[in-house]
Symmetry: D4
Subunit: 253 residues, 8 copies
């Protein structure tokens, strides 16, 4: 809002053409609930269509419980990622309505009224990438997307990928998850004409460098249409894919 627009709004208020509350709406009414250790963005779900998400790593079970309670009034679905088994057990004692999934390390509460739309394909190179893939899958599902899982189709046996190509091509968005050298991304990127989101994983040894090698591979891909998120960041990929998928699907409805 530029200076002119601001003065216009304020003049409207002075002229009683606008109530203070309506003006507040125009001037930005983002709000938050303040805990000791966090400021929770309570109007986020209405504003963006996405629930505020809890990044569990580095938070105590007690803090997670507190945040979930504060959130529960303003959002119908809840997602906490990176929650280890032992921490989850503590949280579940207090909040038995949450569901814990040990592979993806997520705690969720699903909004059952939400309609699942469109389709996101989640493709992994190997069996070891499944943990990250499931973080993506659970996230995408909680955000109301249909998910198709295609696991263990890395380029060392590329015929396995080709056998699944039709399924992959039907998705609105494709998430490709790979460790080692991450070459699967470029191959998929060259074969589909929908957006591909690449997730490097820290799977591998030696010069994999904790995932930096597939990260660099993916950023330098000779195939167009690929963008990249952080190492092991299944959540981030799914959030992105969900935005794109829902925009496409909802226009359709």
């Amino acid at each position: 809002m530029d200076q002119g627009q601001l003065l216009k709004v304020l003049k409207d208020v002075a002229d009683q053409a606008l109530t203070p509350a309506a003006a507040a709406g125009k001037l930005g009414n983002d709000s938050f609930e303040e805990l000791d250790y966090a400021k929770i963005d309570t109007t986020r779900a209405q504003r963006t269509g996405y629930p505020e998400v809890i990044y569990g790593s580095g938070k105590s079970a007690k803090q997670i419980v507190g945040i979930v309670k504060a959130m529960k009034d303003s959002q119908k679905s809840i997602l906490a990622t990176r929650v280890e088994q032992s921490k989850a057990d503590e949280v579940l004692k207090e909040l038995p309505f949450l569901k814990y999934d040990a592979v993806s390390q997520t705690l969720t509460l699903k909004d059952k009224e939400r309609v699942e739309v469109g389709n996101i394909a989640i493709v992994t190179a190997g069996t070891s990438d499944i943990k990250v893939a499931e973080e993506a899958a659970v996230t995408a599902e909680i955000f109301g997307n249909q998910v198709t899982r295609i696991y263990d189709v890395g380029v060392a046996g590329i015929h396995r990928l080709f056998a699944k190509l039709d399924v992959i091509r039907q998705a609105n968005v494709v998430i490709v998850i790979a460790g080692m050298e991450g070459a699967l991304t470029s191959v998929v990127g060259g074969l589909v004409d929908h957006p591909v989101i690449a997730v490097p994983t820290s799977i591998g040894y030696g010069s994999n460098l904790g995932g930096m090698t597939p990260l660099l591979t993916m950023l330098n891909s000779c195939s167009s249409g690929i963008s990249v998120v952080n190492i092991d960041n299944g959540f981030g990929a799914a959030y992105n894919a969900s935005m794109i998928n829902r925009l496409i699907s909802e226009e359709h409805i």
Copy 2:
């Protein structure tokens, strides 16, 4: 296609239920034209909706001319990126129907019948990022997207960004281009609820490390909904954005 499906197709051919040509279509009929120094993917535009693009860097003017000629029959629009002024001059002598733009360093032929759809916002942090931004803008336009340019709104004077926020929020996809430390991406990512594609640039000095610093910044963004392409890769960002924008817009039509 799995073994069963393959046998099915072949049996249909044996049973004359399918002509060899139709079967070839099902079994993948990707083709290419072979030059001495390149293999041009001539059916690409029909297949994916995107013309094959020439990455000009490291190719001679003569090679570019040869490739454009080979492409011209099969695609209506042509885009060559990373073409320096002197090389472009040589190409234009042979192919005067191309248009050269010195800021974005692109040679283009535009398909005038193509309808521009949707809207992509291209946002830069500084004046020095404009070169990369224009590579993105020209690419997006040649691929049939409407483009809105919002330049020089970096976080050192964040009120300039807020003054343009409404315009940015109207786009289907936002491309954020920033050098130095790249913080603009996270701020935009926290304020819009459409997909954000981040392009780090090599603008800066010292520990900018040729763009690695904003690249890492963008990958680690605390805002969700951001994905990243390679350093200075305006083309890649626009290709990605175009895929998303056209999927959203075309569903709508």
Copy 3:
């Protein structure tokens, strides 16, 4: 002191115009107490206004006890950082007058006569950065500064920062503590006109690279007026901020 000045002092001694003790003062009378494992700088508090500080990491409880005892005659306040709970317990058995704080991992003895002056704002991006923030806060308080804590105002929900901007702007110095990509620093730097000291934290995953990513972000900030200390170094930031704050405040008195 150059050669001429040195000769002048020595001639004054020869001429009895100066006593040896006074000359010793002019020629540098820094002294230290020698333990087996350390050389304690006992005149530091008088000289610089700051107590010598114990960096607890890598020292045994026994060594910490020894050093505190050696210090106690010459300084009124004591600060030991990076002391884990178990080590602290051992120390407290011997030195019950110290106070342990488990979040900041500090052992302190406060000089109650010291007047707190000025104001240092400590701002964090997330909840996970609080540990480093508290090391800074405790350090600043032991050095006689007023401290204002503003936690969890990262740029993913930038309205939380704006809501606190007035408080931040009232401080003489602002410490900004952020992990992930560290973009908060640039935003704060663009909004306040007092010195900003940035502390990158090792909070994040994948390409955060143990804090190197926010460190690089902060060093490359497009906002002016920002300087940076080492990763997770809350103590260093507070020491710095204290120097600046007290110089400003004391001139005022």
Copy 4:
């Protein structure tokens, strides 16, 4: 400003207790002038006491001329850094009132009425660091600070530093500029009790790594009270030092 405060202001406007213009002031009236290639922050000098500064690198002479003209109405002093000789020559033809300094590569217009206050010491390890030091010195002077230059006192001949220690200790802030291994910073940091701002330079060869080595050295300094800015960033150090120096000095007046 939180929701409550916002409503309060707007109610005051509705109640005619506040004029729209006065409310606009409270709600943030930052403004800028829009050029084709830049958005100039014209109220910056009034707001922060510092003129907007032009980072010359990557801008054409023509763009610099345009920006200076746009600035000239709103600010009395002008500073452009990183301007090479040839570019400066072009600018000076259009704007002969500017002054060019070839060592620091700055174009300046000095506000002669501004009173110089306090004192900033600029210390270099070697002769080769002088270029960065002069960028810092010119910047500090244009911002109204007294500057003392102490060059070539690196630790290879540490007696040269001790000979200048009294002068250094009289400054409110010390800027230490060093390439090679950057050890001078720690030594100075251990000897003065005012804030030290360290600037690593890209001077050196081999494993200096373009300044990354002294940058890391300075960040890891065992002396307290040191903060660091980007490699070769004389401007940034001076901006920082100026903020601190003026706050100290002005309180005094």
Copy 5:
């Protein structure tokens, strides 16, 4: 297969000159068995002469058991690498016909009818590299190669290497395994005229950087005829060496 060849095959099927099954063979009949967590390449042993190998790291004992069972029908020899003692114990309870070797951390089933051919020399610089060397040795043996072990002949006592040179020179392929600085590779490379495959190990400390130092050393070797595999990748080196050795040896038969 190009478009023309594809049509040719399909026409032959249409003309009954080729059965669908035979055509499927020509068009690629790679197949796989699908488990929940893996897709096993069951025709691999026939196709390439090498059994599919299980990379044990990151797989559960249960998953390994499942995969071995699925493999057992289609391949006579089995190799699982990177299996820790405790995991191996679990597997052996279910599959007592496998053999576990604690140094190389491998589980194997050997095809007793396979004839061992040729000779691969495995040379280590130190005693600490033996673990990686044994992974290579077991792999090479399971693939039907004769193996000669020459351990602890690093360049610090180069006469130990010369004493073994005749034995090394008799091998078809030489695998050199070294940590620390990896110089042994260059020395061996300069003394033998058969292919040398270098394996850097993560043995060393400080600036060994987890094996990156010997990796770089080996890639930059001034001796010709050396190629390199990943850090600690004894399996990869042996696979490579086996391919070469068997090609040489089998031609001979």
Copy 6:
């Protein structure tokens, strides 16, 4: 040769059972010719089957001429790599019997009597990798190998690779040359069962990091049977491939 063997040889000489010359042969008769600036290994061609090769970079035209002259008596074929056009022109004035190739930047003299054996396939991802590929091709040919060139078959259009797969599979050894992200290597490695030698190139921009990205990709390949040489090192790959190819082919003769 151990101490016992050494004494045995010497006793035989003492006993006249062995002539001094024969003993010299057993004790190693490597020799070299000493120039001012180089020590040329003149018996190398007889010993290893490979001519000594001149690495032209950093040598003057005069030095290259001197070395070629010194070599010419002892070897029938000559190869100098990394010779720029201007340097080559100077050399050719003195040594008109050499042949210069501008793409591969090599000077060669071919031994026409040498029989070309076997087959090495040289595969590139893009047109820009051809320079490195030709260094490999010329080297392989001078060493007596048949070479098949398959250029521009990168994974962005993977059908181009499949169209050439039969040709690639017929080679004894495959050299894969790729810049950008280097994914082609893994795909080829998964499709052929002969040794693959990977050459990363410095083609690409931004986070390609001068070839470090494809280098890391190739080292971490999930396909087995791949080994790697240094960035842009076409010569090294060809030397390696030649060793393997000739060993296989010669056994056959």
Copy 7:
């Protein structure tokens, strides 16, 4: 030895002018004792004046016992470094004549007849560097050098260093051990005119990068006369210093 010299020796043997044993001496009589897991260089002590040393890390207690037993006949003093307490306990049960030191983590047997000569000064920046310093000290003493320890004299309190300067200057060689930023090395290097050997330590946090920062600092030192060994490599520094010290001292005798 060149070809001519070799023939000369062999002719002398043939002519009975030289016995085979004497010739063997001239041709190199290095020998070793072969264990399963190691090749021990048994004539090393006589040849170089230094006992073969056991690098304990990665060796089992049993292997260490075996190696010590094999060594004991040929060398009077024994040194094993990097031996943890628990492993040492096991070794001492078998070999009670060894002495274990828990700080330096060494097992030693001292040759009591060896005369200690010269003087090596070992200087540390902090208390935390003492562990590395003691590895150096024990090594130097076992090799027959006098050692002077000067600990905790880092540049944060540089007067502590000056107080000890006379002692440091009396040593033939100075070992400087520092973590954090390692600046102490440059200061000492500028003040003494005997060789300085620098040892970076992994003491520090954040951007210390496991010792890479002080390593780079030391390599880039602006003071002359400094050379560097690997991170935490107290043994290597002492070995080096001992070579120099003994050469100086012994010439004197």
Copy 8:
């Protein structure tokens, strides 16, 4: 000097037992001559036996002339390193008594009365390392050492090294200079029992990383007795070697 000693000296002056001048000597009489751009350490040659040296890089011809003139009264020999041909030409016009050497890029004035003592061997791996080697050689000679050059004996043809081993072993100190992977250092270190100083060079390509690869190789050497200086730092190695060589040789006289 500690507090007690300081008081003792000053009391002696007060008691007239010591003249002020004599006391000044005891208290440190380091002095320097101050130019505009440098502070020249004029008593250095007397104090340390080594002339102050001019690092030419980054200094203008005019500055070099000024420094040489200022030095000439206090030192008999002069050395300027890193002086390019064109700059040298300018200097020589003013100072024709200096001698320029184009390979080592040094300007020198030799003290003809200085006796050359001892012997330093300078060994290079390749022809391309000679430039760095000559910087070392000229430096060592100007400092009064005998120098033996052994060039182009890299490990790719290790027999060339063995042929020169006797000469190398006769030196007091050995400087080993190598680029590429730097393996020569470890080999020499394992064969000589005098101190070895390693100089990595930036010779090589691809993953040589500007000399970082041989630098890391040398630091991680498995041979003892090696220390390392900065990349391409021939001067530093020679300064170091000279210190050691002269200490050994002079004791002998």
